[in-house]
């Protein structure tokens, strides 16, 4: 079996024709490796769902290609080994949750017992005999995830799986996804919630305006940690800080100094500051959140575009 679970190459989708053409996905090339939790990150309308739809064979690409499990996307032998929840759960409103899963199990050719196991897994066992239309948004979402899990597919594609869940439900969902990955299943997860991705994903792809801006590990994306320092007098503190972290390693942020040093450098720094008779009010290790990185990335990208448009 291939190590690359998903590979897209110049994947493009254009909607409409003539003057109303809209580029939903613009030459996206990304890879999802076996066994990882891949976070597909972007604001609403960035092209995440359209990309996922092309991976599942629901939508035909305008250009480029996508292979899943080493074969062209959408082939029956591929979809049979992929579990998916895309753009909200689509189920029969008049059927109970259990019957809905039973119908999908029949489509997949799975025995009936997988249904109860799947309901159990998303905590819906006691509501399985209620009609789908009586479910809350969060329960519908969980039923969608249950359906994607049936038959232990090699790849699980979840489009905004925590949509509509309350905080406890979100935590449960994250735990479930982590458990799936531990069990050897590959999970491709789209989200606009950075905290979620940061917590559970091994690698992320950042998409905005249909373009894949970056693809890397979460750690790489966030970069190294920094130290935040509040001390007085500021000029003397700055001098010490620049001696320790280097001239380019210090930024002044309001009444704070930000030093590009790992947390382990904190004790040495404090010793030097105290020796230089500086009053240290606060030293904290600080990691950039994915959110900051993300906004940095998407805003610069947009600014570039605006400049291009102005030229």
């Amino acid at each position: 079996m291939t190590e690359l679970m998903v590979q897209t190459d110049g994947l493009t989708k254009r909607y409409g024709s003539g003057d109303h053409r809209r580029l939903a996905v613009d030459s996206v090339s990304m890879t999802v490796r076996r066994g990882e939790v891949y976070g597909f990150l972007g604001p609403n309308g960035a092209g995440k769902t359209t990309t996922l739809r092309m991976m599942l064979g629901l939508v035909r690409p305008t250009a480029g290609s996508v292979s899943v499990l080493g074969r062209p996307a959408g082939r029956p032998e591929v979809t049979a080994r992929v579990g998916a929840l895309v753009e909200g759960p689509g189920f029969y409103p008049f059927l109970t949750g259990r019957d809905n899963l039973l119908v999908m199990a029949r489509y997949r050719g799975l025995p009936e017992r997988v249904v109860d196991a799947a309901l159990e897994r998303v905590d819906l066992a006691d509501r399985g005999d209620d009609r789908f239309k009586s479910y809350s948004l969060g329960m519908k979402q969980r039923l969608g995830v249950a359906s994607a899990l049936m038959g232990d597919p090699n790849l699980i594609v979840l489009d905004e799986p925590t949509n509509g869940l309350d905080p406890a439900g979100m935590a449960d969902m994250r735990a479930l996804i982590v458990a799936l990955a531990r069990g050897g299943q590959t999970v491709l997860l789209s989200s606009h919630l950075l905290a979620e991705v940061q917590e559970i994903c091994d690698r992320v792809g950042v998409i905005d305006n249909g373009r894949l801006l970056r693809e890397s590990t979460v750690a790489d994306l966030r970069g190294s940690a920094s130290l935040r320092l509040r001390a007085e007098p500021v000029d003397r503190a700055l001098a010490v800080a620049m001696r320790v972290a280097g001239d380019d390693g210090v930024r002044v942020l309001g009444d704070e100094l930000v030093l590009e040093l790992p947390a382990t450098a904190a004790p040495g720094l404090v010793r030097d500051l105290v020796a230089a008779r500086v009053d240290v009010h606060e030293v904290a290790s600080r990691e950039r959140t994915l959110e900051e990185v993300f906004f940095e990335m998407t805003t610069t990208h947009r600014n570039d575009e605006t400049e291009e448009a102005l030229r």
Partner: protein, 287 residues
């Protein structure tokens, strides 16, 4: 080939399950059963009992009204309501089966389960066909029972129709209802929703074809066109088997084309409509 068959079987089993538990299906079929019973037997029996000249027995003598209620007439009664009312209801059935899944997003879910789109749609078509055949057989049994009850209560000698005439009626009935169900399915697929397809389909089946046949008697070109339309074909197929009353008689039952030509035309629709549905679904982007 085997893989396709397996996938189609799985899809059929899945569709049969969701249709069996779908109230809208039973409402539609229940409406047919109620209409069939009323127009087939209830009104005729009331007219016979009260001796009124109601609209359904205009110009008929009481003995011919009674004859229509006897078991021997079951094959004719079975077919008389099918070209129009039965067809319209089957069109509703086909349209909701095919069309509702787009709004609910269930086709999207189904198409990511494993079976190819062709297999999934074929399964849905087979399941719909099972319901159509079941409807015809159920109606046959219902009619046989009711006519037997009337014969016994009226003290008439019970004469059953020949097996050949029953088989002929059942086959023609299945063909006619199946064509309308498949037309509904194709419309539902085309419109990606039940509402527009049901509306347009009903206007077509109940109104437009009748109007066109009216215009056709004046304009040769329109008449030639009506001869290949589904309603005319279904009506003529039934008309060739049960006869057309002078003065119009049963709505939708006509003798515009010969029985053979009608049967071939209906058959052509039964083959072409599912292929159209499958071709449409295979090509499209599913949101």
């Amino acid at each position: 080939m085997n893989a396709i068959l397996t996938a189609t079987m799985r899809s059929t089993r899945a569709e049969l399950l969701r249709m069996r538990r779908w109230p809208a299906v039973w409402v539609t079929l229940g409406a047919w059963a109620a209409l069939a019973l009323m127009f087939g037997y209830v009104f005729g029996y009331l007219a016979y009992k009260t001796g009124d000249n109601s609209f359904s027995n205009e110009g008929e003598s009481m003995s011919s009204v009674l004859r229509d209620l006897m078991p021997i007439s079951v094959p004719d009664v079975l077919l008389q309501g099918m070209p129009m009312f039965g067809g319209a209801l089957m069109m509703v059935l086909g349209a909701i089966v095919a069309g509702s899944g787009y709004g609910w997003g269930t086709w999207k879910t189904v198409f990511t389960q494993g079976p190819s789109r062709s297999a999934a749609v074929a399964g849905s078509l087979v399941a719909t066909t099972v319901y159509v055949v079941g409807t015809v057989l159920f109606t046959l049994v219902l009619y046989a029972g009711v006519s037997l009850a009337i014969a016994v209560s009226e003290g008439q000698h019970v004469v059953w129709p020949s097996a050949g005439s029953v088989l002929e009626s059942v086959l023609a009935g299945v063909l006619v209802l199946e064509m309308w169900a498949l037309a509904g399915f194709a419309l539902g697929t085309l419109a990606r929703g039940p509402a527009l397809s049901v509306g347009l389909g009903l206007v077509w089946a109940l109104v437009v074809e009748n109007l066109l046949r009216g215009v056709g008697s004046l304009l040769g070109a329109v008449e030639a066109l009506t001869h290949v339309l589904p309603g005319t074909a279904a009506g003529s197929l039934v008309g060739s088997l049960i006869g057309v009353d002078a003065g119009g008689g049963t709505p939708g039952v006509v003798d515009a084309i010969s029985g053979t030509q009608a049967a071939w035309t209906v058959l052509a629709y039964v083959v072409a409509l599912p292929l159209l549905s499958i071709a449409l679904v295979r090509r499209r982007d599913v949101a």
